[in-house]
């Protein structure tokens, strides 16, 4: 297995002024599975193709195990790749597809047969070896493409949106299969996708790209709980984070954002540094229905309610005071009983509130005063929001364990009208912010 290093990797096509990939610096450790994630045209596939050797970098260095491979042709990089459309040789049987790479490298017949049979067994292709690709289903083709890339025992494994042609059920099955394969084989893997679900479930680390540049590199938890800017905040999560820009005021007890949201005063230094307004972000799944009219809660009107079985997705418009009539999306428990046209009071835990610079969009460092708070508190209160999070299989506060109080609060609890300085009160639980 190889370690991959990219140093200022750049790709510019022809005389285009805007590079497709612009100075990417990234190290991928041996055996790591890194997902390149971003919208169409962000440069993720171009980066992958440069790693494969199918595109020549315009500038920068690409190294495998400290060896510069910029000028090494693809056939000498020992890279296996799965393409979006599988790229199976249509005129060859599955066996010949699997054997082609080994035969091209003049492997002995016995060894070719042994390795093809082994990979066919690993991927459950034994009964398909005599068929041609057009006689296979999408999932079977996908497995053959995986097998063809793996049979050569590559030191780097590249996948370019390999699940995008599969239906939803098959995609989920294959995703699990890929995770199992990676944990068994531990081949250094670079995986390109625009599907954040795939990225969050498969990756050791995710690289979010935009306009040819890396925006953030981190674990799935990092990206979910500490997005570096509003782009990542909006891109990660489905639907993306609610973002709205509001003025803030210090009312002596806390900081009011607009006329509804409320934060403890500890965030004051950070807010003073960025000016009179701040962009606030709350994920839809961190919002929950709350008691009416309490301080620190978001008043809005439900405009559209999508029923998605286990939960409902509410598209609402904030009341004037809360966010100047801006829209928000909330993912609420299916039993909430929200209907379109009704007024709604929503709350969120402090750990689910993110602050961003209103102009640059960069994350505002609050010194962990928000992210570190385990219990629902402050502008919020409510364990119900955590109940929706528990369905995601992650702790409500990301890397930190949740408090027993918060975990057990599944219904609306007493919402504070304002906590004492330096502390946030929630459900009778006092939490120090310092």
């Amino acid at each position: 297995m190889a370690e991959i290093q990219m140093r200022g990797l750049t790709k510019r096509y022809g005389n285009e002024t805007v590079p497709a990939v612009d100075g990417v610096d990234l190290t991928i450790s041996e055996g790591e599975l890194v997902v390149l994630l971003g919208p169409s045209g962000c440069g993720k596939t171009t980066t992958l193709r440069m790693v494969a050797g199918l595109e020549q970098p315009t500038a920068g260095e690409l190294c495998f195990d400290d060896q510069v491979v910029n000028d090494v042709p693809p056939d000498r990089r020992n890279v296996g790749m799965v393409f979006q459309n599988y790229a199976l040789y249509p005129h060859m049987t599955v066996r010949r597809n699997l054997a082609f790479g080994l035969q091209a490298r003049r492997t002995s017949k016995e060894e070719v047969a042994r390795r093809v049979d082994a990979i066919a067994e690993l991927l459950g292709l034994e009964n398909l070896l005599g068929r041609r690709p057009k006689e296979l289903s999408g999932g079977q083709r996908q497995r053959v493409a995986l097998g063809r890339a793996l049979v050569r025992e590559p030191s780097v494994f590249l996948m370019d949106e390999p699940l995008s042609n599969l239906d939803a059920n098959l995609r989920e099955q294959t995703r699990l299969e890929l995770a199992r394969l990676h944990s068994e084989l531990r081949i250094t893997t670079v995986y390109v996708t625009h599907d954040q679900g795939e990225a969050l479930t498969l990756a050791d680390r995710i690289v979010v790209m935009k306009d040819g540049r890396i925006v953030q590199v981190g674990t799935p938890d990092d990206l979910y709980w500490r997005p570096s800017d509003t782009f990542v905040a909006g891109f990660i999560g489905s639907p993306g984070m609610n973002l709205w820009t509001v003025p803030w005021t210090d009312d002596g007890e806390g900081v009011s954002l607009g006329r509804a949201l409320w934060l403890p005063r500890d965030v004051l230094p950070a807010l003073e540094a960025i000016g009179p307004t701040v962009t606030v972000g709350v994920r839809p799944e961190h919002l929950a229905c709350s008691a009416e009219g309490r301080r620190g809660e978001v008043a809005c009107r439900a405009e559209l309610v999508e029923r998605l079985g286990s939960h409902v997705q509410v598209h609402a418009r904030l009341d004037e005071g809360g966010g100047d009539g801006q829209r928000l999306v909330a993912r609420l428990d299916a039993t909430t009983g929200v209907v379109a046209g009704r007024d709604l009071i929503l709350s969120a835990p402090l750990s689910g509130v993110h602050l961003f610079h209103p102009v640059t969009g960069r994350r505002v460092d609050t010194g962990d005063h928000l992210a570190a708070v385990d219990a629902p508190a402050g502008l919020v209160g409510v364990g119900a929001s955590h109940s929706s999070l528990s369905g995601m299989g992650r702790s409500a506060t990301g890397l930190r364990p949740r408090s027993a109080t918060a975990r057990s609060s599944r219904v609306t609890v007493p919402v504070p009208t304002g906590p004492p300085a330096g502390a946030v009160r929630s459900g009778g639980t006092r939490v120090d912010l310092t």
Binding site: L54, R77, V79, F83, N85, Y89, P90, H91, F100, R152
Partner: protein, 296 residues
């Protein structure tokens, strides 16, 4: 019913043209091949297979078949290899440096009238001041008689035919090559295949339908070669097919038998035989294609 009438109505003009100018003359040609028939004579007499028997006792007819076969056997591989080679060059190499201009340059001879290209090549093959002999002598090779030589007249005609027809076949091969997904070539390179392996094991099988199509077209047009031979070796002043019948192909002999010597029944019988040969070759090619051509 309305739809059916509309369909027949739309088909009528094309059907009428084919009937009047193709099927009826073809049927009539088949008819007169069994008769003694003259264009100015009213005495038409059924002779059965006599015309066909007579032909196979004519050394010139047998010679023309051999010449046509030789012409075809050389032209098919030359056409396929050269047009595929040029198409590969245009696709991979020259495409990056003014590909459109190169494609246009290759296709230009095909849209030039064949008589015009033949006249250009007559000049090129002139034994005394032609470009071909100038090039040969410049590199120390002896000058050739070209169109005045029994051995070199047919190769000279072949060169002209290739030059004229290659553009079309190059375009067909370019279309075939464009249909090969780029990912297949890339994945083969990642699999460790060298350039020649990528071509022989991936590209060549995938463009086999195109190759088959070009082969059939080249076969038919080679057996029917007429205009370039007629223009380069004789023209309206007579003597086409020379020197010493070295360039007398079957199609040329059909023309001469009918319109120079006035033996229409014999020419019709020759045409029927030519049709049979082309049909047989096409069927053989089709039989082979079912075994070696890969259709996606």
């Amino acid at each position: 019913m309305q739809d059916r009438l509309t369909a027949y109505g739309l088909m009528l003009p094309a059907t009428a043209v084919f009937l009047v100018f193709f099927y009826v003359p073809a049927m009539y040609l088949l008819y007169i091949s069994f008769f003694h028939w003259g264009i100015l004579s009213s005495a038409t007499r059924f002779v059965g297979l006599a015309n066909f028997r007579l032909l196979f006792h004519q050394p010139l007819f047998v010679h023309s078949l051999v010449t046509s076969a030789y012409y075809t056997v050389v032209m098919i591989p030359a056409t396929v290899l050269l047009s595929l080679g040029i198409a590969l060059l245009l696709k991979d190499g020259l495409a990056r440096r003014g590909g459109g201009i190169w494609r246009g340059a290759v296709f230009l001879p095909h849209v030039t009238p064949i008589v015009a290209t033949a006249i250009i090549w007559i000049w090129i093959f002139n034994p005394h001041f032609g470009l071909a002999n100038f090039v040969l002598t410049s590199v120390g090779l002896p000058a050739l008689g070209w169109l005045q030589s029994v051995h070199w007249a047919l190769p000279a005609v072949m060169i002209d035919s290739l030059w004229h027809s290659l553009g079309l076949y190059v375009i067909i091969f370019l279309a075939g090559l464009a249909s090969v997904p780029r990912e297949l070539v890339e994945v083969a390179r990642l699999d460790g295949a060298r350039r020649h392996q990528v071509f022989s094991r991936i590209i060549w099988p995938l463009i086999s339908p195109t190759t088959f199509f070009v082969t059939v077209l080249a076969t038919v047009s080679s057996w029917q070669a007429f205009s370039q031979i007629y223009t380069m070796t004789g023209g309206p002043h007579g003597g086409a097919g020379g020197p010493a019948f070295a360039t007398t192909t079957d199609a040329l002999l059909v023309y001469q038998t009918a319109f120079v010597y006035g033996h229409f029944s014999l020419a019709a019988a020759m045409s029927v035989i030519l049709f049979g040969i082309i049909m047989a070759l096409t069927l053989v090619q089709r039989w082979i294609s079912n075994r070696v051509v890969f259709y996606r």
